[in-house]
Every structure is written in C-alpha cells, then in structure tokens.
C-alpha cells in the first residue's frame, strides 16, 4: 500500500465517523497501520490476534465509540466465531476493512485457498460486503458500509483487493 492510499483510507474512516480502530498488520496493510497509529483523532489498538480485535471493537461500541477493524482475510476467517457470538448475535456493528490475499492479482500460491474462502464465508455469515479494487471507490464504500453497520447493528465489510491497496 502506498502512503497516499493509506492517508485516503484514514481520512475516509474519519469522515464516516470512525474514531476507534483495532488492527493486525500485514505487508499490504503496513502503511495503513502506521498512519492509524499517527492519527490523533483515532484511538488505535494494535492487537495480537484478530478475534481479540473484534471483542475490543464490540466493547468500544458499547462505550459509545464508532469502531472499525483492519485485518487481512486470514484474520477474518479466524474471527468467524467472535463475529457470530459477540457481534451478530446481540446486534453490535463493526466496520471491517479486510485485505484480500489470494484474490485477483495474487502472485503467492499459498494464499489461494484463504482467498477463495473469504467471500463464501462472508456470505454464509450474512455479512454485507463490498469489493473494492480502485482507490477512488474506497471513500464512498467506507461511508456507505459504516452507515449500514450503524443502522443495521451488524458487522459490515469492505474487501480490499491488491489493486486497491497498491
């Protein structure tokens, strides 16, 4: 991810009202995670495991924050039970920004299976998501996904493919 894209995402998150972000980094998310750490308007919590971040975001929501979770798709798959029990069951929104390893443009063969499972699992969990592949689509997607998360009181996701992150 280039720094301009990271800055665009942070700015779009703030415009959508997000003031709290948990994250677990990865090469494609590095610049975004660094930018989140440097932004004083967002409370940034780097976590050790993605499902931990889902719990922290849910707690922050109950305390009046507008949370988002930044992670790769492997972390989303790891978070399925947390999302089901902590968010979907009681009705707690979390906006998820999910980097899509193993999606279009992927060179690393090792990511293919996780890449192929990401959308079917989102669909199986009835999580509304948008796939974003162009930088100019990031801002409206974040705004509208956050609007839906807040109104539906459910997690929503933006799946950012490698084109969008570069």
């Amino acid at each position: 991810m280039i720094r301009e894209v990271a800055a665009e995402i942070v700015d779009a998150l703030k415009e959508a009202g997000v003031d709290f972000v948990a994250s677990l980094t990865e090469a494609n998310l590095h610049d975004l995670v660094v930018a989140l750490g440097e932004d004083s308007a967002i409370h940034h919590v780097p976590v050790t495991r993605e499902e931990e971040g889902i719990g922290i975001c849910a707690g922050a929501y109950l305390g009046g924050k507008k949370p988002a979770m930044v992670m790769m798709n492997a972390g989303f798959l790891l978070s399925a039970n947390a999302l089901a029990t902590v968010c979907i069951h009681p009705g707690i929104p979390v906006l998820m920004l999910i980097g899509h390893s193993g999606g279009v443009g992927e060179e690393n063969a090792g990511h293919a299976t996780v890449g192929a499972l990401t959308e079917p699992v989102l669909q199986a969990m009835h999580i509304v998501y948008e796939k974003v592949g162009r930088v100019e689509d990031i801002r409206p997607s974040i705004r509208d996904s956050q609007t839906l998360a807040r109104s539906s009181r459910r997690p929503t996701a933006i799946v950012l493919n490698k084109q969008a992150l570069r």
């Binding site: 959508a16 709290f20 409370h43 919590v45 780097p46 976590v47 050790t48 495991r49 499902e51 931990e52 971040g53 889902i54 719990g55 922290i56 975001c57 849910a58 707690g59 922050a60 929501y61 109950l62 305390g63 009046g64 924050k65 949370p67 039970n81 947390a82 029990t85 902590v86 069951h89 009681p90 009705g91 707690i92 705004r143 509208d144 609007t147 807040r150 109104s151 009181r153």
Partner: protein, 205 residues
C-alpha cells in the same frame, strides 16, 4: 475459596461500575447478586477481557470490571499483552481460576498443570498483579483496585463449584439494549439513535 463467595464479598461495593461477565455460571451468580443494567453478560468464551478493554478505552473515566475465567483467558492470552500496552487505568481484570472447564463438565485446564496466569500477566507487562488467597484478601485487593486509579489484574484461585442461584433470564439482545441504554443515559451519549443516511444527504445536495 469459592467464586460465589468472592462475588458475594465484593457485590455490596458496586455502584455505577460497568461489568463484563464471562460465559458460564459466573453470569448467573453475578446477576443474582447484582441485578443491574451495567452488567454485560458475554456469550463467548475468550473475549471477556477484550470486551472490557474496549469499554475501558471508550469510557476512560468509568471503572470497568471483568469477571474472567481461566479457560476463557487461556483462549485469548494475547489480550494480556494488548491490555498491558494500552494500560487502561480504569480496568480491573479479575480471573477466577478454578483450573477446569467447569461449565463443560470439568476437564482440567492448563492452569491445573504448569501454566500460571499471574506470571503471564506480569510477563506481558501488567505491573499491578495480585493473587489473594483468602476471601478477606480478595475483598481487600478488590477494594484497593476499586479506589485506586491503576490497571489491576486479580488472579483468584478458587475451588470448582457454582453458587446456588437461579438461572438468570439473560437474552443477549435484551442485555445489549438495556446495557447500551444505561450507558447512553449515564454518560449522556447517543449510541443507538438512528442517524440520517449520509448517502441520502449527498443525494439531497
């Protein structure tokens, strides 16, 4: 020392504190001792401390108390590292360690073997770790944490066994709404209030 007796000893000291309870018998025991809209009963094993951390960071002026268990914390040990790095001064993380998966018929957890959760908490960077051995010590350590302004981890080794309390009627959605409404009212916040769609605002312009 039994968990229910520990809870009974500290329940009279609660006022407006927000509480997150682990899944299992502890939520029924706590609901019987302190029926209050500021109790959030988590229906998940592992994330009790993470939910409490999120609440503590969102409401830094409010005391947050987590009633965690050994089986739960073992599932989310990284949470201690994150809590230590965030250092929320308003969080009291209590772990009732009965060395078994009591609600799942009692098979031993790792703390029945070599694992020491107090040592893990210290190793993660939590300075204020206490391990009260008696009911009186537990109450005293809790009161010290309640009156203080520091992140506190209390590990209470307890015998297995649940208090003789009725099962609380705890519906997750109902609990969420009553908890959020209580937070909204007591903190003068709007959390659930419907907002106009920003997308339609844009179209309107």
């Amino acid at each position: 020392m039994k968990r229910y007796d520990c809870l009974k000893a500290i329940a009279p000291h609660f006022g407006e504190e927000l509480v997150v309870t682990n899944i299992g018998a502890v939520r029924h025991e706590w609901q019987a001792l302190r029926p209050h809209p500021g109790n959030y009963h988590l229906q998940n094993l592992g994330l009790t401390s993470s939910m409490a951390l999120g609440l503590a960071l969102a409401l830094p002026h409010r005391k947050i108390v987590a009633f965690d268990g050994d089986g739960s914390l073992l599932l989310n040990l990284g949470s201690l590292a994150t809590i230590a790095n965030q250092q929320p001064k308003n969080l009291i993380h209590i772990v009732f360690d009965n060395e078994c998966y009591e609600s799942s018929r009692g098979a031993p957890t790792a703390t029945a073997g070599q694992a020491d959760l107090a040592a893990v908490a210290r190793g993660c960077g939590i300075a204020n770790v206490v391990t009260p051995k008696t009911l009186g010590d537990f109450e005293a350590e809790f009161l010290r944490a309640l009156k203080g302004n520091d992140l506190c981890f209390i590990l209470a080794k307890v015998e297995p066994g649940a208090g003789d309390v009725p099962a609380a009627a705890l519906d997750s959605q109902e609990n969420k709404y009553s908890f959020v409404r209580y937070v909204e009212k007591s903190e003068n916040l709007k959390i659930l209030t419907a907002t106009l769609s920003r997308a339609s605002d844009v179209r309107g312009k």
